[in-house]
């Protein structure tokens, strides 16, 4: 790997201290056991089919002042910031493109992953996430309205505790709406991790990790992320990794469809609040302006009187 001379680099042989702790290499069974307690409840107190979005979904728009539209989504520990900028002409293009384009970039903070330090240069996972995000957003944006222009969508993942792709898609949907980019429908996404016959809805990083390790037996495992346009009943992107049979895929799809639908009212609420807030703000500004004008008029009157008198 070539040395990145634009940044300060640490020593080449540095490794995370976690490699030397006792529980660095745990067996598959140990890891699996840690996910659930004796009552079949997940470590953070959720039931298997319970999504974090139900209780702890925290999202707001208008996060980045310099961007046209922005959003912040927090699923307990997973934290994602998204900003959307004004459309600009597609750079380095010879031909006229009938449809506008969406440019997505997903980036992990160097300190975002609990297991290792992320490199500064974009790696394969970030590129794959960027592509998945673009595919999820393309069907919902009215791209014919800005031909030959591209909208930049930037995602920064501050902390990764599972389901970061679905958090990123939700954040991007909010930010696009905040930036007033015309869209057909609200886009929502959700993930599920599959370990054997158990389905973990909206998984944490630990659950995703176990689901991506292949077990010794021939049982199902994997992670599925699905994004939907709920009003139009359309799936805009579907990503599966792991190994599972048809039945498992079908059940997971039904669950994800339901979860995506439950997200819609929450997102609608955030958007409505946003509109109300910006309306109030504008009203307040207008009132202030009126006040100033009146004060000015009064002063002008006084001066005129003085002039007339003087």
């Amino acid at each position: 790997m070539p040395l990145d001379y634009r940044r300060f680099n640490g020593p080449e042989d540095s490794v995370s201290y976690k490699r030397f702790t006792k529980d660095y290499l745990k067996s598959y069974d140990e890891l699996y056991k840690e996910l659930l307690d004796d009552n079949g409840v997940r470590k953070d107190g959720r039931a298997l089919s319970e999504a974090r979005s139900m209780c702890m979904f925290f999202a707001r728009t208008d996060m980045v002042s310099q961007a046209k539209g922005s959003a912040y989504v927090e699923l307990r520990k997973t934290k994602v910031v998204c900003s959307v900028f004004d459309p600009r002409e597609i750079p380095h293009q010879n031909e006229f493109s009938q449809l506008g384009q969406i440019f997505c970039e997903v980036k992990f903070a160097p300190f975002s992953c609990p297991r290792r330090r992320r490199p500064h240069a974009p790696d394969a996972e970030e590129k794959a996430l960027s592509v998945a995000l673009r595919k999820a957003l393309e069907p919902t944006v009215c791209r014919h309205l800005f031909p030959n222009y591209q909208v930049d969508v930037f995602i920064y993942i501050l902390e990764h505790d599972g389901a970061c792709l679905s958090a990123a898609i939700n954040a991007a949907g909010l930010a696009l709406a905040d930036a007033a980019v015309p869209m057909y429908d609200i886009v929502t996404a959700c993930s599920v991790a599959i370990v054997g016959d158990r389905l973990f809805v909206d998984p944490t990083e630990a659950e995703e990790h176990v689901a991506t390790i292949s077990p010794e037996t021939n049982s199902n495992h994997g992670v599925i992320t699905m994004s939907m346009l709920s009003e139009l009943k359309q799936i805009s992107d579907f990503t599966l990794i792991g190994s599972m049979d048809t039945e498992c895929v079908n059940t997971a799809m039904d669950i994800l469809e339901k979860e995506c639908e439950t997200l819609v009212p929450q997102i609608q609420k955030i958007l409505v609040t946003n509109v109300v807030k910006s309306f109030e703000q504008r009203q307040r500004l207008e009132e202030e302006a009126n006040d100033r004008e009146q004060a000015l008029n009064i002063k002008m009157e006084e001066w005129r009187k003085l002039l007339n008198a003087g």
């Binding site: 590129k127 199902n220 495992h221 799936i235 990794i241 599972m244 049979d245 895929v249």
Partner: protein
């Protein structure tokens, strides 16, 4: 695809044909086009295969290197996919023009081979937490005539089937380092167990129906296609028929294109893909076993690109 121009009427013709289950080249919606497959075409590689599916031409070479296993998985080997879109396919790929497509395909392959149920990396381990084999699967796309993903996955499986890994003759422990001596004899080598390696089937949504193996013309009529990766059946790839039927599990599902699909259509498509993959896997196994027998009897004639 590059340089392909279709008039609206031509597109309507294709869409109507698909609706009637009778495509413009005479196939039904679940038929593949004829393919040509030859293994062992590149002598510098440990395993290689060339697949020609109508106008799509793929050359795959597998190279092996000794590497240190990653600390998280000390008992696993490594596999890496690299796709190169040759400018021979279309002038648009000149320089770095094909990079986007290449990254997309290699990511898809990497994900399809991720699970140990698809490809067991334990067979690449030499010496736990010290040394392992790293397979470089280099995919060269020479011509694009539609349906790249399927062709790539078939050619990769064939090349891996053809790959020989030399036996380790001796290992010297020197402090913490291991010094390996490899066998020089090309026949003194082991074959990989690739029976369960996944095949990918692209289902192209045209109108309301899905077709397998779309031609470049058909691809331009569709806004969305579903790619499913399905593990293979090991019993099709071994000469004794005793091993049980396995496979048929999904290792990847992905959507490609700017459109979207209804949940019902997606479910139908992945089922259709599973059926198609099973048939494809069976015929690939037969072809590869036949070729291997021929090469054992020294009857095999090498065609390369001269045919």
């Amino acid at each position: 695809m590059a340089g392909l121009l279709l008039s609206p009427t031509e597109k309507v013709f294709i869409v109507h044909g698909v609706q009637e289950d009778y495509r413009s080249d005479g196939r039904s919606n679940i038929d593949y086009r004829p393919m040509e497959l030859e293994t062992d075409v590149v002598s510098h590689a440990s395993g290689s295969a060339r697949l020609r599916l109508a106008n799509t031409d793929i050359l795959v070479g597998v190279k092996t290197e000794i590497d240190v296993p990653s600390p998280e998985n000390p008992d696993l080997g490594k596999i890496e996919f690299f796709v190169d879109c040759s400018a021979n396919a279309t002038p648009e790929f000149e320089g770095r023009g094909g990079e986007q497509l290449a990254i997309g395909i290699s990511n898809l392959m990497q994900r399809a081979y991720h699970s140990s149920q698809a490809f067991n990396l334990k067979q690449l381990c030499i010496f736990e937490s010290k040394q392992c084999w790293k397979l470089y699967v280099d995919i060269l796309i020479l011509e694009c005539g539609g349906n790249l993903c399927d062709a790539v996955s078939l050619a990769v499986k064939a090349a891996l089937f053809n790959t020989r890994i030399p036996f380790v003759k001796a290992a010297l422990m020197d402090g913490g380092n291991v010094d390996l001596q490899l066998s020089d004899d090309p026949y003194d080598s082991k074959l990989l167990d690739v029976g369960s390696a996944p095949l990918q089937v692209t289902l192209c949504k045209i109108g309301d129906k899905c077709v397998v193996d779309p031609s470049a013309e058909e691809e331009s009529c569709s806004v969305i296609s579903v790619i499913v990766g399905i593990t293979g059946n090991s019993s099709c790839f071994s000469e004794d028929n005793s091993s049980p039927d396995t496979g048929g599990k999904f290792t990847t599902i992905d959507m490609n294109g700017p459109g979207s699909v209804a949940p019902k259509t997606l479910k139908d498509a992945i089922n259709q893909g599973r059926v198609a993959a099973k048939l494809l896997d069976k015929s690939l196994g037969e072809a590869l076993l036949r070729e291997r027998q021929e090469s054992v009897k020294l009857k095999k004639y090498s065609y390369g690109f001269l045919k």
